[in-house]
């Protein structure tokens, strides 16, 4: 147990060290690419939610297989490593074309908890989407709320 803990701390420490080191060595082009990548990641959430939301609004017929595929994709995306594109120095105070707030990188930031909340809600949606339309509809609220939970404090409203 202790060994695992120490190993874990070492990995985390290296990761933070790497980012801190990188902060001075990231080019503007790399930063711009990172912003694009995370926005694309977000766009994929929206795209897949579109399938589930269309069914919830009864704009398209409920289909358990299609709903499950969309829910699986969201859950998978939510669990991908993302530190590569949340680079320090890429907040909306430091560069253009991003709405990411500096609060993401501030001391005591709970952005990781918010990311975890999305995993929880997306996992619940996987079950609901496979069950029936009523379950899917009921799971839309918590899933949408988990996106909003992060956008609330970490993304600037438009304009």
């Amino acid at each position: 147990m202790r060994k695992i803990l120490i190993a874990g701390l070492a990995i985390t420490g290296t990761a933070i060290g790497a980012i801190a080191y990188a902060d001075n060595h990231i080019s503007d082009a790399q930063k711009a690419a990172a912003v694009k990548a995370r926005q694309a990641h977000m766009t994929l959430y929206a795209f897949n939610l579109g399938t589930l939301g269309g069914m919830a609004k009864e704009e398209i017929p409920y289909d358990a297989a299609a709903a499950t595929a969309a829910a699986d994709t969201i859950a998978t995306l939510a669990q991908l490593p993302q530190s590569g594109y949340w680079l320090p120095g890429t907040d909306n105070g430091s560069m253009e074309n991003t709405r990411a707030l500096p609060a993401i990188w501030a001391d005591g930031s709970d952005v990781g908890t918010k990311a975890g909340d999305l995993v929880t809600a997306a996992t619940a949606m996987q079950t609901a989407a496979a069950t029936d339309l009523d379950s899917l509809k009921a799971a839309m609220g918590p899933l949408g709320a988990s996106c909003g939970g992060c956008h609330k404090g970490f993304r600037q409203p438009d304009e």
Partner: protein, 293 residues
């Protein structure tokens, strides 16, 4: 000469006194709540519709049943802090009468006849219905007491003079409806939910330099105090959403493009998502009328 100064002084005092009389804090009529049978179950929905928890929860909390206050509001006039409105008799409002609570919400006047600052959105709430507020109070009385002391506002002279708020109320706090004319029953319900209870205009309507709402630009979108960015225009065709889109957004926070709401709208959706579909449809029906006007 001395005489003239004395006369001017007396005239000045009379003018000031008349001013204070015209702008003196208003209370609810003594019988405003009599004959009502408050229903705490309905009150829970009123509480969600009026969004009390968004402001009176602890900063960063997700528990809408605990109301210790402490959230800060940065404005051009200074920083305000929401007070404790839990049932604690010492730090909260546990020992207030129903009339005192209802007068605070519907008139912006404290038990000792002081004006409240309009960050407390009584300018919207005053259009509301006393029977809803009676239900709300029955619900508030069921919530846990909390011993967190309220924090003093950080507001400098002259804005910290509560008596001067009487003039503000006279100019800008108007209990009349903004949208008038022939409305269906559903649109009227939506008007009550948007213009009064949900106080949507407080964030979505631009303000003048004195902090009063420009009701000519009702729901046209506004700057967000102390932050970059603006709240969106809610008038069609700027907001080109169907009624079903608006209902889905108020329930899940998801837009028709399946982006998700952010900023303070997330707190609003935590409240509206508890309302019955009929209320959300009423809000949508009303917003579509605002666009058409």
């Amino acid at each position: 000469m001395k005489r003239i100064i004395l006369i001017l002084f007396i005239i000045g005092c009379v003018v000031a006194a008349i001013g204070l009389v015209i702008t003196r804090p208003q209370r609810l009529q003594a019988d405003a709540l009599s004959g009502l049978t408050p229903d705490a179950d309905r009150g829970r929905l009123v509480y969600a519709a009026m969004g009390c928890a968004s402001c009176h929860m602890a900063p960063g909390s997700d528990d809408p049943t605990r109301l210790p206050g402490g959230k800060s509001f940065v404005t051009d006039f200074g920083t305000f802090y929401a007070p404790n409105i839990s049932t604690d008799p010492e730090h909260g409002i546990g020992d207030w009468t129903d009339e005192q609570i209802a007068t605070a919400v519907l008139r912006g006047t404290s038990p000792d006849n002081q004006h409240y600052f309009p960050v407390f959105p009584y300018g919207s709430y005053m259009r509301g219905d006393p029977s809803d507020v009676a239900d709300l109070i029955a619900y508030l009385r069921l919530l846990e007491p909390d011993q967190t002391p309220s924090r003093d506002h950080d507001v400098g002279f002259p804005f910290n003079i509560r008596a001067s708020l009487g003039g503000w109320k006279l100019l800008f706090a108007n209990p009349d409806w903004i949208v008038t004319g022939d409305l269906t029953e559903e649109q009227e319900r939506g008007r009550l939910l948007v213009e009064a209870m949900g106080h949507c205009g407080e964030c979505h309507t631009p303000r003048n330099i004195l902090g009063g709402m420009n009701t000519n630009d009702w729901l046209a979108g506004a700057a967000i105090p102390g932050q970059k960015g603006r709240t969106p225009d809610l008038r069609a065709p700027s907001l080109d959403w169907s009624a079903a889109d608006i209902v889905a957004y108020l329930k899940t926070g998801l837009t028709p493009e399946y982006d998700s709401a952010g900023g303070e709208m997330v707190d609003v959706i935590a409240n509206t998502s508890q309302l019955p579909d009929s209320d959300l449809s009423a809000i949508a029906a009303y917003l579509l009328v605002v666009g058409a006007n």
